[in-house]
């Protein structure tokens, strides 16, 4: 049972004052916090009051108290970023004046540009083209040697700067895979025939009894103007090579029929208006160095 005794006497054993609380004959000793501790604690409270006054502290409904020092961590970051930019600018000076070919041929500039390009690629390009440019789905793999719009440094630079079928950029890459089926140019049976012909030149399996002669004629009449008589493609028009092993939209019959029936028109934004020239050059060199870059 607990009793409350207000007689704060001294404990005989330890010589310490008691709090007067007694439970089952056990008295509670009064051992207050050390003075220095207590005063340090009060001091920290005082300190915090000063802190509220001079630094941003209290959240208000729309914003917060600013503090008399006018300190802002965002402003501090801005200054640090500015300093970082000025350091980078010194490096960038060499990249700004050099052409992409110069950069490609100078190991030092190449290393610098590749490092910057890798970072910029992660920030801007990897969302579609995947980390390392390995491509995903209808976004092309940039590490192989298939280039719809050309794989030379200058081609890559143009594509990055102006984008593909990007309406806001007048110089954007343009070219159209017509919807031969939807527009009624080719009948479904003709589409199937031409698919078998394309499969034969791409060394894919061909259906038994396919009329390759009819396919050849259909191809020459409808497809050769862009993809070329030998189907080697034309980067000027964004017409891919149909004889190689790389099929952006898939090499199944269904995918090929879909491409011919409804057309394809992949879009890439123009980065010229968003990224500075040094970054675009760095990205160009980086993408070129992923393995497929053409001389």
């Amino acid at each position: 049972m607990a009793s409350h005794d207000h007689n704060h006497d001294i404990d005989a054993v330890s010589g310490t004052a008691t709090t007067g609380h007694v439970w089952d004959d056990i008295r509670e000793l009064n051992t207050p916090l050390p003075r220095w501790w207590l005063w340090t604690f009060y001091l920290t409270i005082l300190w915090s009051i000063g802190y509220w006054i001079v630094y941003p502290a209290w959240p208000l409904i729309a914003n917060h108290t600013r503090g008399v020092f006018g300190y802002s961590s965002r402003a501090e970051v801005a200054v640090e970023l500015q300093q970082l930019e000025s350091v980078r600018d010194r490096q960038a000076a060499a990249l700004r004046t050099a052409s992409v070919d110069d950069i490609r041929n100078d190991p030092t500039l190449l290393r610098m540009a590749t490092a910057r390009g890798r970072a910029a690629f992660g920030d801007n390009c990897a969302g579609c083209h995947n980390q390392g440019g390995s491509g995903v789905g209808v976004f092309p793999n940039l590490t192989d040697d298939e280039w719809i719009w050309g794989g030379k440094l200058a081609d890559i630079q143009t594509t990055i700067r102006h984008g593909i079928r990007w309406e806001q950029d007048a110089n954007s890459r343009a070219g159209q895979m017509l919807a031969f089926g939807r527009t009624g140019v080719l009948k479904p049976a003709e589409i199937e025939t031409v698919v078998e012909y394309v499969r034969s030149i791409a060394k894919l399996d061909v259906a038994n009894g396919a009329d390759l002669a009819a396919g050849t004629k259909l191809y020459a009449d409808n497809c050769a103007s862009c993809h070329g008589e030998k189907a080697k493609g034309n980067p000027e028009l964004g017409a891919p090579d149909l004889t190689d092993a790389i099929w952006l939209y898939g090499s199944s019959r269904a995918a090929m029929v879909e491409s011919i029936a409804n057309g394809r028109a992949g879009v890439m934004p123009a980065w010229g208006s968003r990224l500075d020239e040094v970054t675009i050059k760095s990205l160009t060199v980086y993408v070129h160095s992923l393995g497929g870059g053409q001389k």
Partner: protein, 483 residues
């Protein structure tokens, strides 16, 4: 239930003994001279070593001992160590530990008594103290007396010199981390990096505190070595010892004459306490081997001086073994001291083994390193003609002080072709890169193989880097991935 109050003496006793200030007395003799010589050699090496030059050719620093953090290199005369070879330093530490063990088995705490920086700097500080404030008796008297202008002056000048010594200690320390002559110039013109001043400050503080104030406390309470040594010593190890077989029963000179006259035994120790007065850690050697005794030999000098004065043979305190004293005390002939015994043979053998391993490692280490990192995104790329390409990032480290031509080649899959991107290419020589002196070159290696050459999702390839002028080849096994 009644409680038993604690006894007063149990409750009020402090948990540690209050420090007794030690006032070591000056002494001269053989061991004192030896200690001065060792002190001069140790400090001389410490202060002058950074200025020793060592020619390594035009591309590398010419400082004999240099820890170059920015370039991540450690130079020690003819050895240059890269960060990935830091295990050589570990080997050096193992050798140092084993050398301490061997020292201990042969002649006790040689390290503590003569070589330890704590001992060396404390000795230096004590000699300054003695020079300015006088010897033991004078210092005790002055410290217990009132503060006078003279006392303040003496104390101030002592601390000033101490801080100067400490400052030079820190100053020499930083010279091991940069080109010493340049850094000295920069320090003097206040153009040295902040880190240099900071470390000088830190080392100044630690030297001043450890050698000026903590002294024997470091040996008694901070250092683990005395405790370890107690386990390493044995009955054959030489130790500074009081020969109680000869000294006991101790008594004054006068009493000894009287006792001897009636035919009773009297020891040689006259209880003059000189051995205690000179002891830098304030212990009484006559109580036997103990933690606080660093075995500096100064009590030997003190005792020998007294013995010579009273015409008794010297060597009452001397380097001796425990079992020899025990034998003489029992009146038997001490067995001959065995220098060659299991303990010393073992330590020496392990030292020889570790040393040989390190020398072998250093002599045969490759001056060319190749590391290969397989590109993960994508693991492989299919090309237009169906061929499969894997990308690798290669790092070739050239540890020689001159530029080298290295050819990079791939084997393991028939028909594999390679392309290097970002390397320092050598015009007209495909597959050959130039790696600068003491540098690491990083570049991309693209390996393409025909589709038909791959019969599964994975194959092994060997990537080889070969020096074109001398026989130095590194080969790395890597996976080649396909669909």
């Amino acid at each position: 239930m009644s409680t038993q109050p604690l006894a007063d003496d149990d409750r009020d006793q402090p948990l540690y003994e209050a420090t007794k200030k030690v006032y070591p007395q000056g002494v001269s003799g053989w061991f004192r001279r030896l200690k001065w010589i060792i002190l001069s050699i140790c400090l001389g090496i410490y202060y002058l070593l950074p200025f020793v030059r060592w020619d390594r050719g035009p591309y590398l620093p010419n400082q004999a001992v240099l820890i170059d953090f920015p370039a991540r290199r450690f130079y020690f005369f003819f050895v240059e160590i890269w960060p990935q070879e830091v295990y050589y330093l570990t080997g050096l530490l193992i050798l140092a530990a084993l050398a301490l063990f061997l020292m201990n088995a042969v002649a006790g705490r040689i390290w503590c008594g003569y070589l330890c920086p704590q001992t060396v700097w404390t000795d230096l500080y004590l000699s300054v103290e003695r020079l300015i404030e006088g010897d033991r008796r004078e210092r005790i008297q002055r410290d217990s007396g009132p503060w006078t202008a003279g006392k303040v002056g003496l104390k101030l000048s002592k601390h000033f010199i101490w801080i100067m010594i400490a400052w030079w200690t820190g100053g020499a320390w930083v010279l091991y981390f940069a080109d010493a002559p340049t850094l000295v110039k920069d320090l003097a013109s206040l153009e040295a990096p902040f880190a240099a001043y900071l470390w000088i400050g830190i080392l100044t503080f630690t030297t001043y505190a450890l050698a000026g104030f903590m002294r024997e406390q470091v040996c008694l309470y901070m250092c683990p070595w005395p405790r370890i040594q107690a386990a390493l010593t044995d009955q054959d190890a030489l130790n500074v010892a009081y020969r109680y077989d000869r000294g006991e029963p101790r008594m004054s000179l006068k009493q000894a004459t009287r006792i001897k006259a009636i035919g009773e035994p009297a020891g040689d120790c006259i209880d003059c306490n000189q051995c205690v007065a000179v002891c830098p850690t304030g212990v009484d050697i006559r109580e036997g081997a103990q933690l606080g005794c660093i075995q500096c030999g100064l009590c030997i000098d003190a005792c020998d001086t007294v013995m010579a004065k009273i015409n008794r043979p010297t060597g009452l305190i001397a380097y001796d073994t425990d079992q020899a004293i025990k034998a003489r005390a029992c009146g038997t002939t001490p067995p001959p001291r065995r220098l060659v015994r299991a303990r010393t043979i073992l330590y020496a053998a392990v030292i020889a083994l570790v040393g040989a391993l390190m020398v072998y490692g250093l002599a045969t280490r490759s001056m060319l390193d190749l590391s290969v990192l397989h590109e993960r995104t994508p693991l492989f790329t299919q090309l237009r003609d169906g061929a499969i390409r894997n990308n690798f990032t290669l790092r070739i480290a050239n540890k020689r002080p001159e530029s080298r031509l290295v050819s990079v080649s791939v084997s393991g899959i028939a028909g594999a072709t390679t392309e290097l991107i970002g390397a320092n290419p050598v015009p007209g020589r495909p597959g050959v890169v130039e790696v600068g002196p003491d540098q690491t070159l990083e570049f991309k290696l693209l390996v393409t193989v025909p589709r038909a050459a791959l019969d599964g999702p994975k194959a092994m390839i060997q990537i080889k880097a070969q020096d074109l002028t001398i026989n130095d080849i590194r080969t790395v096994q890597e996976n080649f991935f396909g669909p």
